[in-house]
Assembly symmetry: C2
Homo-oligomer: 107 residues x 2
């Protein structure tokens, strides 16, 4: 687990919480499997079948509920896609980076 | 439950199993909440929170496994999107209509 993964999502600070491009770049060094585009980061996970993909969604859902920060997901036979963004700050916040690290730690 | 919902998905018959535009139209009379576009039908469900949306995905996943026919899903805080298509026939098959009816019967 990286230090990012061991942190907890904090209540959103609105626009103040929005990371700068330089901050995003710095965080993504520790999150190499995530793609950054616009106001979001995404990662696609592959699995052997639907049941394994659904099990991962449930694991991930538990973390999301615990942290009060919910990604947008895609789910189908053998895959799960995860998109993280923070609507309240209109971009990426530290919470997104923490969630990404926690999700990485699940696999 | 409609009669469609009480049927079981059958092994795919390849291109032979592809429904004609007239057949699709006829089936969709019993599935008014589904949108038809191109080779797929979709429906969006809304929920009070993430936990309820995830619970629905699990219910739906159980039916998909049972029937051996898996939709593509989107899931986030308060919503689930369902897309049905049959890759093996390159369009919509009776299995998609049966799954749509079974999914309608869950809510």
């Amino acid at each position: 687990m990286t230090s990012l993964a061991s942190r907890a999502c904090a209540p959103c600070k609105g626009e103040e919480g929005k990371l700068s491009p330089a901050e995003i770049k710095a965080h993504l060094v520790a999150l190499p499997a995530w793609q950054h585009g616009g106001d979001r980061i995404t990662r696609r996970f592959t699995f052997k079948n639907f049941v394994q993909a659904l099990a991962f969604v449930n694991q991930l859902g538990e973390v999301a509920e615990e942290q009060g920060h919910h990604p947008d997901l895609t789910l189908g036979w053998g895959y799960v896609g995860v998109t993280l963004t923070t609507h309240d700050c209109g971009g990426l916040s530290l919470n997104d980076m923490i969630m990404a690290a926690k999700i990485d730690a699940l696999v």
